[in-house]
């Protein structure tokens, strides 16, 4: 095979987040770019949170281990979570690929534009039907439910008893995350455990999923809460200023019940309009701490105007996919490969056509360029 050399250089800096954030892109992605003929610079220590060594990244002749500043000075900079506070390290005209959340971060968009960074939001790369190409909603659901069942087992020893009835899980919200939450819940978020319990004749899990047209029905909801062992919030609210379930209603849940928060909206009571959590009076976790028993001091740290009288054990994490970092990054890596292959093939973002191939169109949609020069979907698709 004739070896090709591409002029495009890539930089992979580390993330500078909470201690529990162990994710970085994995060596196979780096090697794939090097195989395409690109020079790839990775920051020293990348992947160390998952047990990888610098040498594993530098195994390709075109990959090298560098300091943070050098990693940020490449033509294309790829980092999973937005590198807040480090945008200035990126060269004008360079491309930044990251979870940038353009729609909800207008100040960030302005800042990137001022710095002339050609940014692409991983979370806004979408196909012609609006489906995200780089997404791990399955891990949100499975990791969250895994933590919920671990907490339930601690609080409710009958979980493994053949004499109990089916475990009752209520999933609020039936969208992308809710769909995966249903599947995860039917298997205790652990297929091996599900098989084992079935072999011992333990009844399985009954999952009830309800959409907005029932979550707003108070009579129905009161009845449902009394028959719920695990309550899952996977909603996408139209109005984030009002909770779906008031704290007073949580008293209807059995004392052993666990609340699984997959949405993880913050409390922003001073914003206009304010944002409150879907289930009122529960703490918010992160990768450092995401399981909260009823006597956890985390409740005392909530804003004092938020009622917390009724408490049940809660699992909540700002970044559920990060609970299993390697699995998460394997998936993101696979999802990124065809997009980066296309980017290299097109010689950089300047060559990516809004009416090009499937991956070009999706990548273009994720860019800041598309925000300033939007192209209607129909025109892109070109169907009659």
């Amino acid at each position: 095979m004739v070896e090709r050399v591409h002029g495009l250089t890539f930089g992979f800096p580390r993330m500078d987040k909470e201690a529990g954030e162990r994710r970085d892109f994995l060596p196979p992605l780096i090697h794939r770019l090097a195989d395409l003929g690109c020079e790839v610079s990775v920051e020293s220590g990348i992947g160390s949170g998952m047990g990888y060594l610098d040498e594993e990244y530098a195994a390709s002749s075109r990959a090298r281990v560098v300091d943070e500043d050098t990693a940020y000075r490449q033509d294309v900079v790829v980092v999973l979570r937005a590198p807040i506070g480090k945008f200035e390290k990126i060269r004008r005209g360079a491309t930044l690929i990251s979870m940038l959340h353009f729609p909800t971060r207008p100040a960030r968009v302005r800042h990137l534009e001022e710095l002339a960074i050609d940014a692409v939001g991983l979370d806004t790369i979408e196909d012609d039907e609006g489906r995200r190409l780089v997404v791990n909603s399955k891990a949100v659901a499975w990791n969250g439910l895994e933590a919920a069942f671990a907490m339930l087992e601690r609080r409710w020893p009958q979980l493994t008893s053949p004499t109990r009835g089916p475990v009752r899980v209520t999933v609020m919200g039936a969208g992308e995350i809710g769909k995966h939450a249903v599947e995860a819940a039917t298997k205790y978020a652990n297929p091996e455990r599900s098989d084992l319990l079935m072999r011992y004749g333990v009844p399985g899990v009954e999952v009830v999923t309800i959409g907005r047209n029932l979550t707003c029905d108070d009579d129905y909801l009161m009845q449902r809460l009394t028959a719920t062992d695990v309550l899952v919030d996977a909603t996408q609210r139209h109005d984030a200023s009002v909770p779906l379930i008031r704290n007073g209603r949580l008293g209807l849940l059995p004392p052993h019940a666990v609340i699984c928060d997959l949405v993880v909206d913050p409390y922003l009571l001073d914003a206009d309009p304010p944002t409150v959590r879907g289930i009122e009076g529960i703490p918010q976790g992160n990768l450092d701490r995401y399981a909260f028993d009823v006597d956890d001091p985390a409740w005392e740290l909530l804003p004092p105007e938020v009622p917390t009288d009724n408490r049940r054990a809660v699992v909540s994490c700002y970044s559920w996919p990060g609970v299993h970092p390697k699995r998460c990054m394997e998936l993101y890596g696979k999802q990124l490969v065809p997009l980066l292959e296309m980017l290299v093939e097109r010689g950089g973002i300047g060559g990516v056509r809004p009416d090009g191939s499937f991956h070009e169109r999706a990548f273009y949609r994720g860019s800041l360029r598309a925000r300033s020069r939007p192209v209607p979907v129909r025109e892109l698709v070109g169907t009659s």
Partner: protein, 366 residues
């Protein structure tokens, strides 16, 4: 595709434009291509100067033949040795056809066998299976329920068997009556919504639980993928517990085949097997009498079953398949079939190589 009258699907002009972009020398479209989905032939010819109209036989004579549903065996014999056939070939349940393709030296690539390393299909439309089936089922319920759109009615109860790819979408669609606009109008009128209960194989074995559940079910959905398809999940006798106006929706669409080397029955015993021409079967329908007499059909409810649910929305279905096929066709036109790398860095190339018939058969016998 030369199938039942209700099968209207052909690929859309976008895919032809993609073939043109990636260097196809000539693209032959069968006469009448696209008419079923309401697209005039000019729309195809406009997107590529290399596209032309030809006979069905000419289409089969090309280096690469792309057709969603598999041609019959007589037509397969016409394919050139070494030609690539890209189609839904269902290798595991069609062993004779699979062997024939290998014997003919056709480089067949089964669309349903193109998967990533975690087994996820890259060419699939499970979403459409669920939404189209659930929408059709709720239309029947709406037609029969005396208070469907009245605020005084209780929430509707749906029981979904299976929580995998199809089941997840089915539960999602069912919370929205399979029709977001209908849902919005009912929400606006304060009509109680839909409660969907999902149960998987770790509960469906529990007869007492299942009988109690069926008694409270307005719509029973079979979205299972069974490890042992020779046994139903819901024996016909259990259907006696389902309310007389309950509805059964068959999304799994396994056939009845009691004489094959691996017997197959439907997940809900006694439901007729439908197609795009006929997929709604009231209890008194003659179709029940045509079910294999060895199958128990004593207890009957209104049932919906369709071999190809995505075909109910032909344009939407082909738009999805077309998008998924673009990277696959880039691999196929990019290098000869013998060079597709099973262990290469490109996941699409690996997936295509895995789905090629001779390699698939080798992997099965290894």
């Amino acid at each position: 595709m030369h199938k039942e009258h209700g099968e209207l699907r052909d690929f859309l002009p976008d895919l032809i434009a993609h073939l043109d972009r990636i260097g196809a020398e000539e693209i032959v479209l069968e006469e009448g291509y696209g008419l079923g989905v309401g697209i005039p032939v000019d729309a195809y010819l406009e997107v590529s100067g290399r596209a032309r109209i030809g006979s069905y036989e000419e289409c089969l004579d090309q280096d690469v033949v792309v057709v969603l549903r598999c041609p019959d065996q007589r037509e397969l014999r016409r394919l050139r040795r070494g030609a690539v056939l890209l189609s839904m070939l269902h290798y595991p349940t069609r062993p004779d056809r699979t062997a024939l393709l290998a014997d003919l030296g056709v480089r067949a690539v089964s669309l349903d066998a193109i998967t990533d390393r975690s087994g996820r299909r890259l060419v699939q439309n499970l979403e459409a299976v669920a939404w189209n089936g659930v929408r059709a089922a709720f239309r029947e319920i709406q037609r029969r329920h005396p208070h469907f759109d009245h605020p005084s009615r209780r929430p509707l109860h749906v029981t979904c068997l299976g929580s995998g790819g199809v089941g997840g979408w089915a539960a999602f669609a069912a919370t929205r009556y399979g029709d977001p606009e209908l849902r919005e109008s009912l929400v606006a009128s304060n009509v109680p919504g839909v409660e969907v209960t999902v149960v998987d194989f770790d509960l469906t074995w529990h007869e007492d639980y299942m009988l109690g559940r069926l008694e409270r079910t307005d719509l029973l959905i079979d979205a299972t993928r069974r490890a042992d398809p020779s046994r139903p999940v819901v024996p016909n006798a259990w259907l006696a517990a389902l309310p007389v106006d309950g509805v059964i929706l068959d999304l799994a669409c396994d056939p009845y085949d009691l004489d094959g080397s691996q017997p197959v029955v439907k997940g809900v015993e006694g439901v007729p097997h439908g197609s795009l021409d006929r997929y709604v079967f009231p209890p008194e329908d003659r179709a029940y009498d045509l079910v294999d007499p060895r199958i128990d059909t004593t207890h009957r409810r209104l049932a919906l079953s369709c071999y190809s649910w995505p075909g109910l929305d032909p344009v939407g279905s082909m738009r999805t398949y077309g998008e998924q096929l673009e990277p696959v066709l880039s691999v196929i036109l990019g290098k000869p079939a013998g060079d597709w790398d099973l262990n290469g860095a490109s996941q699409v190339e690996r997936a295509v190589a895995d789905a090629e018939v001779s390699r698939w058969l080798s992997a099965c016998t290894a």
